[in-house]
Amino acid sequence: MIFRTLGPRILLRAGIMLYQKFSPSSILIPFVEAYYVWTSEGDMVDNMVIESPPSGFCSIVFNAGDAYTLTNKKFDNLTVPGSFIAGQSLYSYSLRLSGIVEMAGIVFKPAGLASLFNLPVYEFTEERIDLRQKFDVATVTRIEQKIRTIATADNKAKLLEQFVLELCNSNIPVADSIDNAANLIVERNGMLHVNDILREVYMSRRNFERKFFKKVGLSPKYYARIRRISYLMNIISGKKNVDWMQLFNDCAYYDQSHFIKDFLEFTGRTPQQYLDANSELANIVNKPVTQSLH
């Protein structure tokens, strides 16, 4: 893979955190959403809690900084492995960070992990799985070491892309109907009906749901609900005042009670409770603009 020279880097800063996103090469676009590099640039953080709603994406993360812990419905302050697969999250979770923050990650399209690596993604829901359990140990160790030594974010992102290509032996699959259906749900921010998708995939509902579950880890309808709440949370992240009526109309909720039900189920709080006291990453970094690697 030959990388073209980057254009001007846009560094987005607020406080001490720097979060940068990079787009994948065109052949990986059906499977990879983005690469990210998140760093405190050598500064120390002290017991910082970052919370996140479910995003609808799985990821592979390499942590070259200090160890940190995860709290979700299943785990209470679990020390996450140094490099791991993060499956679909059904609920909000939080990270507790102390020391140096230095992470680099691959965010996969909903069926990307299954399509690229033939992994049973439903097994990963709400889990953090040590990468060494699923991939060649020597390869993982080599990438971990390189992530530590590479200085710039764009070069780290390039390394992540090389890692993806190496793991699938450069045999990039053709996106199938499940990839396309799941990516359509992402594009529409979850605001579509499963019947709309069924018309495109030429499968029975049962067959489609099974194949979707095996590649995405969730049912199509449930996945769409998660994508919609993720989209909504992205809109309100970092805000202190929100026009809820406008928002639930914009997000095509049937009525207010459906909106509140979804909000409570996926975030564990009412909308107002969330606004009053959320500690998302968006509060300490500016929303990143995705940069091109190529």
């Binding site: 299943k74 059904l90 097994e123 709400e126 889990e127 049962r206 099974r210 049912s219 309808k221 449930y222």
Partner: protein, 146 residues
């Protein structure tokens, strides 16, 4: 158990439960029972004490009757989450159209679509030893016109 072995075990547990739900979707009760320990227990929580029994007796009876009374019964597995070292929670939507009386629910030809939570417990051989199933029974009866 080391952390890595624990993780692998949790993943295997999930496989058995997902296979169970898929067998239910196929209306294949024998296949469902094949994933369960012969002495396994079940609790259909909304039915109270009457909902407690053996998987191979009460469970088999209720599922067989359900399939008979709701011939188009189907389900969608929304999500499966491993909880603890030996249990898995499956969020399942079950739907069907009634064609015969079912327990205290007379047949009015109604259709139901109901969120169910299955909590499975499994032994070290990945056989299901206990199932607890909960759903909103009042809402289900309301949907069926009862």
């Amino acid at each position: 158990m080391t952390s890595a072995i624990k993780e692998q075990h949790a993943l295997s547990l999930k496989n058995a439960c997902v296979s169970f739900i898929f067998a239910y979707q196929q209306k294949n009760v024998d296949k469902m029972l094949g994933f369960c320990d012969p002495d396994g227990t079940i609790y259909f929580k909304p039915l109270g004490e009457a909902g407690k029994g053996k998987i191979h007796e009460l469970g088999k009876g209720i599922w067989t009757a359900l399939i008979d009374c709701f011939p188009d019964i189907d389900n969608t597995l929304d999500a499966a989450v491993a909880e603890g070292e030996d249990s898995v929670r499956c969020q399942v939507v079950i739907r069907g159209t009634q064609e015969k009386d079912f327990g205290d629910i007379p047949n009015k030809g109604g259709h139901f679509d109901s969120d169910h939570i299955f909590i499975f417990r499994l032994n070290p051989d990945n056989k299901i030893t206990d199932i607890q199933i909960s759903w909103d029974h009042d809402d289900l009866k309301r949907q069926l016109g009862s």
